[in-house]
């Protein structure tokens, strides 16, 4: 193996390792399940990609490389599915995301001035968050009714 390839692979492996650990630290540091997901996605994209890429270079053009590639694609395609499913399930289960910042008009996506609120949007969440300093912007009336019916057995 050319030394330069070797070097690149080691750099990739180290960088991948770094992002894995960063993701894991984020998983511990972040305040709620949604923000934790973001942290994990760092590890599952960059971390996994770099680490497996580095290993692939180490393996050279062999069967192992292809298996590693397959592994990469599997993780790459399935981890968003997992994140998405977890997020949806958490939302449906009534887990309230910790939110901050001013509200955004749901239909235009335009930022509203602080304290102002789109009056046409009825948010099921902000009723319970009245005292919270975090302002809520969501998704009001059009979340599917049946999504909220899931039994709360957590």
């Amino acid at each position: 193996m050319p030394p330069i390839a070797d070097l690149i692979s080691w750099v990739m492996i180290c960088a991948g390792s770094f992002f894995l650990v960063v993701g894991a630290i984020g998983l511990v540091r972040m305040p709620d399940v949604f923000t934790r997901m973001h942290a994990v996605s760092v590890a599952e994209t960059l971390g996994v990609g770099l680490l497996l890429g580095g290993l692939m270079i180490q393996a050279g053009l062999t069967l192992v490389t292809f298996k590693l590639a397959l592994l990469f694609f599997l993780i790459f395609f399935t981890s968003p599915v997992a994140s998405h499913s977890i997020a949806r399930a958490a939302m449906a289960d009534g887990v309230k995301p910790i939110l901050s910042g001013p509200e955004i008009d749901a239909r235009t996506g335009r930022l509203l001035p602080a304290g102002e609120k789109d009056p046409k949007i009825v948010t099921p969440i902000d009723a319970g968050e009245a005292e919270s300093s975090a302002s809520v912007l969501v998704s009001g009336g059009y979340r599917d009714e049946d999504d909220k019916e899931g039994p709360k057995n957590v």
């Binding site: 991948g16 650990v21 998983l27 592994l71 981890s79 499913s85 399930a89 899931g150 039994p151």
Partner: protein, 105 residues
């Protein structure tokens, strides 16, 4: 060098295990568990290199398939209190019926 990767994976694993144990809710745990699964796959890959045992990669591939099925199963269980039962009404009422992939042979 593989050892560096391995230690990184193990540290990440430890942190993920902490989150899995600490929760606080089931979605945190599922998230952590899914991540642990990914880390396990990586660990297998790295170990395969470290020990010169490429067959660990096959185990990794199997694990990758199972990880996603497992995660989804757990989520579905906690969402509906059942893994399948009859198809939940949400699916039956899908406005795009016919295109949902549900067919009879």
């Amino acid at each position: 060098m593989f050892i560096v990767a391995m230690i990184a994976v193990l540290i990440a694993l430890a942190l993920a295990v902490f989150r899995a144990l600490a929760g606080p809710n089931v979605f945190d745990r599922v998230l952590a568990a899914n991540f642990i699964g990914v880390l396990a796959i990586l660990l297998l890959a790295v170990l395969g290199f470290l020990n010169g045992r490429p067959e660990f990669l096959d185990v990794g591939l199997v694990y990758a398939f199972l990880n996603i099925v497992g995660t989804y199963a757990v989520l579905k269980f906690f969402r509906y209190g059942a893994l399948g039962g009859e198809a939940p009404p949400e699916e039956a009422l899908d406005e795009r019926k016919g295109a949902s992939g549900v067919h009879e042979i």
